[in-house]
């Protein structure tokens, strides 16, 4: 029996933690108990911004790596953070997973960093909640004090928002005191952090997601496994997308209901307004293609494949429904 250590910067609560634990249990089940994964929660071994070095140097055998902390090293994975039209958690995860798993250039790029890709998560669709304001059009963010993340935040800034740097955990107090008008977030996180207590409106943007976070493995530790064990790890990794997809979709729906019950006005952003946001995001997508190409990857080709994969899984969902409803 071999015990592998998995370093996770987040707490052992919430949908992602459940999916991580399910992955670990799945690996043990698939290897008939040969592989056991000991998860170190809360960044006890390394914090999120040291996760890549931690896994690559073997501090932990596996670890959750969040792409936004490593824009250079995780440039390929960063495709899942782009403000594309990509709001479905399950579709996004399966597309990202297939791209990461099948593109040999990405695998070689990761191998250079002593990393092996195992499976992907997502934070799910990016939305925006406000206190005292409401986002009904793209222009509504103009002049508001907004907490934003990644390229989505960049788009809000371009639209005239005043960006306030603050962690999602401080957003409650920020909105409560008026330091913040709006906070970019995810439905389940709004409920988990009780932000509905201070929000007055919540806009479902149906735009995109932050999806570049997932489990990677140290290459030496991976190579030391038998081929059967490696297959078990990979299959368990694919399964993560379905596990988390089911959990997060349910959590998000419940969270929106919680918000409604708390008297928060839940707004569905008009598709035409959403398209304006997507259009505003285009320069950041071009910038990514340029950076990926500079890093020796086929940026434009990857983007085409990714869009095709998003279409493929959207089609599968529309035809058959989500795996957990089939």
């Amino acid at each position: 029996q071999t015990t592998l250590i998995l370093g996770e910067a987040g707490p052992n609560r919430g949908a992602r933690a459940v999916a991580t634990q399910a992955f670990a249990d799945d690996v043990t089940a698939r290897t008939n108990g040969d592989l056991v994964i000991d998860i170190q929660w809360g960044g006890a071994l390394f914090k999120a911004d040291a996760a890549l070095q931690g896994v690559s140097d073997g501090v932990a055998d596996l670890g959750t790596i969040i792409g936004v902390y490593f824009p250079q090293e995780m440039i390929a994975y960063g495709i899942a953070d782009l403000p594309l039209l990509n709001a479905d958690a399950w579709v996004g995860m399966r597309a990202t997973d297939e791209l990461m798993r099948t593109d040999p250039i990405i695998a070689a790029n990761l191998a250079d960093q002593d990393l092996v890709y195992l499976g992907t998560f997502t934070t799910s669709a990016v939305n925006i909640g406000c206190k005292g304001a409401a986002i009904r059009t793209a222009e509504d963010v103009s002049g508001l004090k907004v907490r934003g993340v990644g390229a989505y935040g960049d788009v809000f800034r371009d639209l005239g928002a005043n960006m306030v740097a603050m962690s999602i955990y401080d957003a409650y107090q920020g909105m409560d005191t008026g330091l913040l008008d709006c906070s970019q977030g995810y439905s389940y996180a709004v409920a988990a952090l009780k932000q509905q207590e201070v929000m007055t409106s919540y806009t479902l943007m149906n735009w995109g997601q932050v999806g570049a976070l997932g489990i990677f493995m140290n290459k030496y530790a991976y190579d030391a496994l038998t081929p059967e064990q490696q297959t078990a790890m990979n299959d368990a990794g694919v399964g993560m997308a379905d596990t988390l997809g089911e959990l997060i979709t349910a959590d998000n729906d419940a969270a929106v209901q919680t918000m409604k019950d708390a008297g928060v006005e839940v707004i569905e952003l008009d598709a035409a307004e959403r398209d304006k946001l997507v259009e505003r995001g285009a320069p950041y997508i071009d910038a990514w293609v340029e950076q990926a190409t500079a890093a020796g990857l086929d940026g434009a080709g990857m983007l085409d494949s990714y869009r095709a994969l998003l279409a493929k899984y959207t089609e599968e969902r529309d035809a058959q429904g989500y795996p957990w409803t089939r």
């Binding site: 707490p11 929660w41 809360g42 960044g43 071994l45 040291a50 140097d57 073997g58 107090q173």
Partner: protein
């Protein structure tokens, strides 16, 4: 070698080295590094030191660098600088003149004022260390100058600093809330009464101390007229203005608690220069002292972080929790066991490290007993705060020691601490026995 055994050996080695007068930072970092190396070298069963070098150095670097490389912790050097600058700009001395004049007839009045000041300051900052360092810089030297007992002058602020995480806002409650998915605002509200209870407890400790030994806090000799009182109160306006600026700024939505530290330093400089009490030379000297203090405090904290990562690798914390879980104790015994675990870990580790190591296992255990998680959060934070003032590793005590320098040896501070610890234990037992103290405010809103 068994991880738990390595972990227990490491605790013993740290105690041994500290007794041999090895600086705390070196003892924690050295043992943490050696222990990490041993674990990585023996992971496969055989002894393979060559395979342990890369992960060991990586762990050691990332844990120490990340601790320093922090935006939120920028509050600490800034608040320490605020203490130094306000001291040199005569701002702090005049609060003390006011406290001395107004509290002349109260035994130990200035020590009590310091503790109340800590309570007020903790309503602004979420960190006990920031609280202890700022209030320590402001209060301890003034009390020493007034002839207070060295132990009383230092221990009162070291203990008072622990209010920093109990009275909201509080970094520890935020982390606890994230780990337990409980409402952070409920946790904040739940901390208010226990924080005030602890504050009252510390005041009582000072009262008992001074009653039993009046020479510990010399009373002000001489006549005090109403005019003196008024003058002293008016003279203290810069401090009141700074405090108002922070509170108004945070609760008025102009800036965050981290930003408040920077704003306050800027405001203190403006007041100091405008009143011609502060010179550029003073400012520079203040900053030099700030930097030396900050670096030695952070060196300990970074070393403690290395030690926490090593303890995570050993699995000793989860083994202890698991054995408590297996013992199937009665609720009262379980609480007692939890208190003992946190107090022992608190002797060596920092609060955030302890939370990260224990909460993933502790919380499901506590939930299975049907305990209220908000109330349990208050109990945990109180236990962790006690750990900040227990020997051998008591971060708040080190902070105060750093502030007063050789004027008071660290052992003298620990010697004064036990009176506050005794009160803390009583408060802790009250909090554990009567959950309503914690839950009254969150339940009624």
């Amino acid at each position: 070698m068994d991880g738990t055994l390595i972990g227990l050996c490491a605790f013993a080695a740290v105690i041994g080295l500290l007794a041999l007068r090895v600086p705390i930072a070196f003892a924690l970092a050295g043992i943490g590094t050696i222990g990490t190396f041993v674990i990585f070298a023996t992971r496969t069963g055989a002894f393979t030191p060559d395979r342990a070098v890369r992960p060991t150095t990586s762990l050691v670097f990332s844990n120490s660098f990340d601790l320093i490389h922090s935006y939120d912790l920028s509050m600490i050097p800034l608040f320490i600088a605020l203490g130094h600058i306000a001291y040199r700009a005569d701002i702090t001395t005049r609060i003390y003149d006011a406290a001395r004049v107004w509290l002349a007839k109260v035994p130990g009045g200035v020590a009590m004022a310091s503790v109340v000041g800590c309570g007020g300051f903790s309503a602004i900052t979420g960190s006990s260390i920031a609280c202890a360092s700022t209030m320590g810089r402001i209060c301890a030297p003034e009390m020493l100058r007034m002839g207070y007992d060295k132990g009383l002058a230092t221990a009162s602020v070291a203990a008072g600093g622990t209010l920093g995480s109990l009275i909201p806002p509080s970094v520890l409650f935020i982390i606890y809330g994230i780990f337990t998915e409980t409402s952070i605002s409920s946790l904040f509200l739940a901390g208010v009464l226990p924080g005030l209870l602890s504050l009252a407890g510390f005041l009582l400790a000072i009262y008992i101390w001074v009653k039993s030994k009046p020479s510990a806090a010399p009373a002000y000799q001489g006549e005090i007229t109403m005019q003196d009182k008024l003058n002293a109160a008016i003279g203290a306006w810069p401090a009141v203005a700074l405090f108002g600026l922070i509170v108004g700024g945070i609760y008025g939505g102009f800036f965050t608690a981290t930003e408040a530290a920077a704003i306050c330093v800027a405001a203190a400089c403006v007041i100091g220069f405008a009143q011609r009490k502060l010179t550029w030379r003073d400012l520079w000297e203040s900053l030099r002292e700030t930097c030396i203090q900050t670096s030695s405090i952070f060196l300990i904290a970074a070393a403690a972080k290395i030690f926490v990562a090593f303890i995570a690798l050993t699995g000793v914390a989860s083994d202890i929790v698991a054995s408590v879980s297996d013992a199937q104790l009665s609720p009262v015994l379980l609480l007692a066991a939890i208190a003992v675990i946190y107090l022992i870990l608190g002797m060596f580790l920092d609060p955030i490290g302890i939370m990260v190591l224990t909460l993933p296992l502790m919380v499901p255990l506590v939930e299975s007993y049907g305990f209220n998680l908000i109330w349990f959060g208050v109990v945990v934070v109180k236990l962790l705060e006690i750990g900040l003032i227990t020997p051998p590793v008591g971060l708040n005590v080190f902070v105060i020691s750093n502030v007063v320098g050789k004027a008071v040896p660290i052992d003298k501070i620990f010697a004064g601490i036990w009176r506050f610890l005794a009160i803390d234990v009583v408060v802790l037992i009250l909090l554990m026995s009567f959950p309503i103290i914690s839950l009254l405010i969150p339940n009624s809103l």
